[in-house]
């Protein structure tokens, strides 16, 4: 009964929060800056799941919650839902992004080239324990060598070549659309089947771990056995707004984005490549690969139950899933009592029942 303690509830709650803060030590601005500076991928991950591009607020949320990712995402989402919508950005094409990393697993080389960019993919996964030793001098900063030729800023998508060569269906026609009219999952409830815009939004906001689990199940024999990464991009994208007076577009700033395309042949019973796509704010490589794979999987003719659209998109909703899971901590003694009543009744019934055929009904 301790947590329905009569009259003590409010005070107990205040103390519980105080205890948490005391245990985890004081936090200050410097600590928030440090996290923002040194954990960009963690920041990107929660910005993606929160669908709010605000590195400073994301760092604050992380510190405030002691690094509990689900709580941090919830803080950001709750903050986001209070913010006014000042303007809608102008849609941009992939080619317009400032790409720093672009690889394709489908071809040895692709128009524009393979560009590794910044990645730990080929690092040796050895802990640098020497960094723990305060007596050792920090390793010297090695300056990044200049490239002989500058890498291109923009790349032709691999799909452009594939479409030219009849491997992919032509990109669907999309008539010019006012961004205001795009169905927005944060403002309209989703009903399934979901419009494509909502699906891509939900994938972009989805829980990274959840997408990985379902995506991995697909790769591991419960779906497309071998998806091919057609293209994976990390880039900076300008957020173009229109000057409200002159109508002239201008860049209000840059955000980090990641995009992945997955292809697989003979998808949907046609002699064509099937294409799956996902994009997020922030650089979240694992997430976009799993999400693009699931995008393709969900459109399959008879997807595994765990790869059906409604299943994937409802169960990878990070804030809802985590909130519902922890709500089971709440008292449920009235519902449990109700179940016990039915259970005891059934026990009584069982003790004096006769088989169906002998009943004189």
């Amino acid at each position: 009964m301790a947590y329905v303690a009569t009259r003590g509830g409010e005070q107990a709650m205040r103390h519980a929060e105080q205890f948490f803060r005391t245990l985890n030590g004081p936090v200050d601005t410097a600590c928030i800056r440090l996290i923002q500076r040194h954990m960009p991928y963690l920041i990107d991950r929660i910005m993606g799941e929160a669908s709010l591009y605000a590195p400073e607020l994301a760092a604050l949320a992380l510190v405030q919650t002691g690094g509990d990712l689900y709580e941090a995402v919830l803080l950001l989402r709750a903050y986001r839902s209070t913010q006014p919508r000042l303007a809608y950005a102008i849609p941009i094409e992939s080619e317009q992004t400032l790409t720093v990393r672009r690889i394709s697993a489908a071809f040895q080389d692709v128009p524009g080239g393979q560009m590794l960019g910044p990645t730990l993919d080929y690092s040796h996964r050895l802990l640098q324990t020497e960094l723990l030793d305060p007596t050792q001098a920090p390793p010297p900063r090695v300056p990044m060598p200049e490239a002989d030729t500058a890498a291109p800023r923009h790349y032709q998508p691999v799909t452009t070549w594939q479409r030219l060569n009849g491997l992919l269906d032509a990109a669907p026609e999309h008539p010019p659309c006012d961004p205001v009219d795009i169905p927005d999952v944060t403002r309209q409830p989703v009903t399934f089947p979901a419009p494509r815009a909502q699906r891509l939004q939900l994938l972009a906001r989805a829980d990274t771990g959840g997408l990985l689990t379902l995506g991995y199940a697909g790769m591991n024999g419960y779906g497309i056995t071998h998806p091919t990464v057609n293209e994976l991009c990390l880039a900076y994208a300008d957020v173009y707004l229109r000057n409200p007076l002159t109508g002239t577009p201008f860049s209000a700033g840059r955000v980090r984005i990641s995009q992945a395309e997955i292809v697989t042949p003979f998808r949907g019973g046609e002699a064509q490549l099937g294409l799956g796509f996902a994009a997020t704010m922030g650089w979240n490589e694992v997430k976009v690969i799993a999400a693009a794979m699931l995008d393709l999987e969900m459109d399959g003719p008879d997807p595994h139950p765990a790869h059906q659209e409604a299943f994937v998109l409802t169960h990878t909703e990070a804030v809802e899933a985590s909130g519902f899971c922890i709500h089971y901590k709440l008292p449920h003694y009235v519902t449990f009592q109700s179940n016990l009543d039915s259970l005891r009744r059934a026990q009584t019934q069982a003790s004096h029942r006769v088989p169906a055929t002998e009943q004189n009904e």
Binding site: P355, A356, T357, E361
Partner: protein, 281 residues
């Protein structure tokens, strides 16, 4: 009675004009379809099918896989809609109504109250995890029954009429043998005493001895309940045992129709001859 066999390759004139009504029947047919046409994409599954079935009569549809006979049954069961054509059942208030033109809700009511179906595959006709008696109770529930003891009673009677062992009435179908599953399907189909009974290869896949017993039950029930029954089968033995009249279908069309004995003993159409011959050899 004059011979009632047509041998036109593609029937253009309605069956009605070629057939005398069966002698016992003086009323209009209970089930009547005209000009059924059903396409799946580029494939025409059923074309120009016309059918009359009178109360108490069992009409067989014979043909190989892909001939369109099961499609006809799904259309008669109102579970699919044709691209063209009509279905009229001689029901009070609906005697002039093309049932295909009704809305989904009304179609479901008609289907529930007046049509019973038995599928070859019990998974299509039964809830495998629900008790056998519950499978029958569901029909009553759909028709508005809300009294538990009535559901028990009707389930017991229907299962009994289908010669199902009552001590297993609360077992789920997945626990039962194939023959027993078909008996549960049959009990479910006849629970509301439907005017129309549709049988889609009801004994295919059963052991020969079990098959004989189930056929016996079907014959017995047909006699007792007097529904207008359409039986689809590729098995000419089943057709001969049960049906009064038969239609032979090929490539979605009726190629021959008439009294069952006549069709089986004196087939006119080359395709029917081939079917009958294949069985004999």
């Amino acid at each position: 009675m004059m011979p009632a066999t047509s041998t036109t390759g593609a029937i253009s004139s309605p069956i009605q004009t070629l057939l005398d009504p069966p002698r016992l029947v003086t009323r209009r047919p209970l089930l009547q379809t005209d000009g059924l046409l059903k396409r799946y994409g580029r494939v025409t599954a059923v074309q120009d099918v016309e059918l009359r079935v009178y109360p108490g009569e069992m009409v067989g549809i014979v043909g190989e896989s892909g001939s369109g006979k099961s499609t006809v049954l799904r259309l008669l069961n109102l579970q699919e809609l044709p691209d063209e054509g009509s279905l009229i059942l001689d029901l009070p208030g609906y005697a002039e109504t093309n049932l295909f033109a009704l809305d989904r809700f009304q179609r479901r009511m008609i289907q529930c109250q007046h049509i019973g179906i038995v599928y070859q595959n019990p998974y299509l006709g039964l809830r495998m995890q629900t008790s056998s008696s519950g499978n029958i109770a569901e029909r009553l529930i759909m028709a508005g029954e809300r009294t538990f003891q009535t559901m028990r009673q009707v389930a017991r009677e229907s299962l009994d009429a289908s010669e199902f062992p009552l001590e297993r009435m609360d077992d789920a179908p997945w626990q039962l043998s194939g023959g027993m599953q078909q008996r549960v399907q049959l009990a479910r189909a006849i629970a509301l005493r439907p005017l129309v009974l549709l049988l889609d290869e009801p004994t295919t896949g059963l052991d020969v001895s079990v098959q004989a017993l189930v056929l016996d039950t079907l014959k017995h029930l047909q006699h007792e309940l007097q529904p207008a029954t359409v039986l689809v089968s590729h098995d000419l033995g089943v057709i001969r045992t049960l049906t009064d009249r038969a239609l032979v279908m090929r490539h979605g069309r009726v190629v021959e129709h008439g009294l069952t004995d006549q069709i089986l003993d004196d087939p006119q159409h080359p395709y029917t001859q081939q079917l009958v011959h294949a069985r004999l050899s």
